[in-house]
């Protein structure tokens, strides 16, 4: 069982995680990020990806949805949140219930 955490993202956002003892991988382009993700998927239990990058490689992130490991989780980058992570939750609700009942009081 893989037992490590990885963070993929642009350099400014991930550097801070490095001091915590988390493995950090910088990615400048979407292609680079998807390569890294595919490689890491076998070794890490939890992979955090900054939202903007996760958004650009969402098709690959999607691929890991149905398996227990790795958990690929979008986190906000240093530029702030883009709402991608939240949209993932509302997508889940829509898939399961058929209508978005969690967020409709906000919009």
């Amino acid at each position: 069982m893989p037992e490590k955490i990885a963070v993929i993202g642009d350099k400014d956002s991930v550097l801070a995680f490095k001091a915590l003892g988390v493995d950090v991988f910088g990615a400048r382009s979407a292609a680079e990020a998807s390569d890294t993700l595919k490689k890491l998927a076998r070794e890490y239990a939890v992979i955090f990806i900054t939202e903007d990058i996760a958004q650009s490689i969402s098709d690959i992130v999607e691929r890991y949805r149905v398996r227990a490991y790795p958990a690929v989780i979008p986190i906000p980058s240093s530029k702030g949140t883009t709402g991608y992570g939240m949209s993932g939750i509302s997508k889940d609700v829509e898939r399961a219930i058929g209508a978005d009942i969690l967020f409709n009081n906000k919009k």
Binding site: E3, K4, I5, A16, A19, G21, R65, P76, S78, D92
Partner: protein
């Protein structure tokens, strides 16, 4: 509704009736499962939303602090400061069973070294300490978020799959079986009537010959 392509025999009728009973029982079970899975899902998704809201604001804040520290000290200094982390995060991973979904269960294994700051305090300014302290207290929450969000993903997929099964049973399998059973019954009754009529006719003919 289309009926199945079977011979209208008594044996066929019996096996179809058995299949119908199984289908109805399966449908009921799956429906119960769907209800329970959705209940579980609602619990998790609410926690997921709460956690994500918290984490998004806090991570953004601490990363902003980190950027400030980078600005104040210069990128090289910061990079050097965090280049050799003094501790290593290890996870304890297993899977737990939620409504027959193998959901992950992740915990942070406490590391021996408690020293968070891998640099000397002289070389960098306080923003970095602040940012790292915040982030490290966030880490447990982040791992919890990973666990919950993954569980939600998997439960959502399972609910979708389950719903498809329930619908297939309810709107295809069961009507089809009922239709076929009805058809076989009618066919058998028709044969029965035909037989009776034939017997009566033969009796009439025999009586006429006497």
């Amino acid at each position: 509704m289309a009926r199945l392509n079977v011979n209208p025999t008594r044996m066929e009728l019996r096996s179809l009736k058995n299949r119908l009973a199984t289908a109805i029982r399966g449908h009921k079970l799956l429906k119960d499962k769907a209800d329970e899975t959705i209940r579980q899902f609602m619990i998790y998704i609410k926690e997921n939303k709460r956690l994500r809201e918290e984490i998004e604001s806090e991570v953004t804040l601490s990363l902003k602090n980190f950027l400030l520290a980078t600005a104040a000290n210069g990128r090289d200094v910061i990079e050097e400061a965090v280049a050799m982390p003094s501790r290593k995060v290890k996870l304890k991973c297993s899977t737990k069973n939620i409504m027959s979904v193998a959901a992950p269960s992740i915990e942070i294994e406490e590391s021996l070294s408690t020293d968070l700051y891998p640099y000397s305090f002289i070389s960098v300014s306080g923003e970095l300490d602040d940012s790292l302290a915040r982030l490290s207290s966030l880490l447990t929450k982040l791992v919890r978020l990973a666990e919950v969000e993954k569980t939600c993903n998997m439960l959502a997929a399972e609910i979708e799959k389950n719903r498809r099964r329930v619908n297939a049973l309810e709107y295809v399998m069961i009507p089809e079986l009922e239709e076929t059973i009805k058809y076989i019954k009618m066919k058998l009754d028709e044969n029965e009537r035909g037989n009776t009529v034939r017997l009566m006719k033969i009796k009439d003919i025999l009586r006429g010959e006497k």
